[in-house]
Symmetry: C2
Subunit: 291 residues, 2 copies
């Protein structure tokens, strides 16, 4: 689907799609990745028997937003990363100007896809999808979380000293930077499935919890990948003096907490019975993955 949405042919209202830009956009989002957000969206919609292309298109839109955020976060002025998914980052494979514009174009195309009648027959659902995606990824969600993250790393403090954040502030930062988009992908699936209010509430909580689990698992991986590697004493977070819950509470405590969060997330799927088996597995995969 991502591949099809990034074709040469221009849509109504577009004039032409410049080849260089299109190629770099494809490089950014077609090079692997877990495709977690589309997966969650499609499986949530499937709970309600919504099996059409709408969920696949909406999932692709979430993947575009996720992909754009990685391209911009990798820029030299941000996290300055040269590698992503084992390949040069977009600004290394192309250049910085291209990377900035690739991000801008992916973000814009995501909203295009959501608002397109091909995604859902109901304009109410389409506008709802746009609104949820925007709230989860904008200044009060993902982008705001990246600002809090740079601030926490000491970007704007004298001598660049990292901030000593409370557990509450770390959780808020992570909920914004990664949790909100994961939760929104579940909610978007529920929206496409015409979930009722109680179902939406249960799935929304499930989404928030697995978003939290995702980040704790990420922080644990950062610590443990480094202990396995004999040459390096610490992972990236510790090297940057970055405040994480794992750093604050320790590995064992967070392993226990992670298991509890997964149990709670799975509980919310109770009303859906066996139909939710894949989402149950997804919660476990997110928490206990090894990459």
């Amino acid at each position: 689907m991502l591949d099809g949405l990034l074709g040469r042919e221009s849509l109504a209202g577009e004039l032409e799609r410049p080849v260089r830009l299109l190629e770099a956009m494809r490089y950014a989002v077609l090079g692997g990745g877990k495709r977690l957000r589309p997966f969650l969206l499609i499986e949530t919609a499937r709970l309600f028997g919504a099996e059409g292309m709408g969920a696949v298109r909406a999932g692709a839109a979430f993947e575009m937003v996720h992909g754009y955020s990685l391209v911009h976060d990798d820029l030299p002025a941000m996290d300055d990363d040269d590698l992503r998914r084992g390949r040069p980052t977009v600004h290394r494979a192309y250049d910085q100007a291209t990377a900035i514009l690739v991000g801008d174009a992916l973000l814009t195309l995501a909203f295009d896809v959501m608002a397109d009648p091909a995604t859902d027959v109901s304009a109410d659902v389409r506008a709802g999808l746009v609104l949820r995606l925007a709230r989860a990824s904008g200044l009060g969600g993902m982008v705001g979380g990246q600002v809090l993250d740079l601030a926490a790393e000491g970007r704007w403090t004298p001598e660049g000293r990292p901030l000593a954040l409370s557990a509450e502030r770390i959780q808020r930062l992570q909920a914004m930077k990664t949790g909100a988009l994961i939760a929104a992908s579940v909610e978007a699936g529920a929206l496409i499935g015409r979930a009722g209010p109680a179902e939406m509430a249960a799935l929304s909580t499930y989404g928030t919890l697995i978003g939290r689990a995702f980040q704790i698992a990420d922080d644990l991986l950062d610590v443990e990948a480094s202990t396995e590697t004999a040459g390096k004493a610490t992972g990236k977070d510790a090297a940057r003096g970055k405040a994480t819950l794992v750093g604050l509470h320790g590995v064992d405590a967070m392993r226990t907490r992670l298991a509890a969060i997964v149990d709670e997330a799975v509980d919310r799927l109770g009303p859906f019975g066996d139909r939710a088996a894949v989402l149950v597995e997804a919660a476990r995969f997110i928490a206990f993955r090894d990459r």
Copy 2:
């Protein structure tokens, strides 16, 4: 309206709005500018008696997209400008990371505003606004135009030699980079006003023509105005060896063509009679402004 949309309080689905980001976003869009796109949108909606806050909100969304594009275009990796509207650009007043994120957040918030029920009671209209805004500003519109523009300046040619573009290619580049968003702001006003197909077609052509006039006027100003009058650096096109229609055909020929385009645009407003007096004036202002 822009001011109100950039308030401290977070909306449903947002977690919090980081102060630093919000301040920089306000710096980016509240520091003057002609507010051309909101003006066109509001006046077009008014043709149909649509006087509510919907057009004002949608106009603010267009201004956010315009503002984000300036913030990103000014970055060192893009056009590398230090001044905008007589003040330091966002990456000079703050830093590059903040400027990248300000742009991302403004773009996202624009789609949020369009999809919000407060903008229009009809979800069809809201989804239509999102779609038009996205098509005009994405890879087949504004962002794509910026890619073509950097390419034309020789960004990706050996020795950085500017491309010798045909008049047709220059016009396409300009239609994408600036024309599409101006035309879309007129179309958005027509959408909010529930314009019929014939009215939409006439206004869409009007929008395309004044978009073209805007760019020719800009190129003429770059040749003729001083930095002081224009509020930004002038003479830049020639210095960069940039291909413009003014460079290709000369000032006199383009002055004549500009007047003809304005006449044609005004013609399209004929069916609206005296109600369109403000849009007639707008076409003249755009073509014959001095900054």
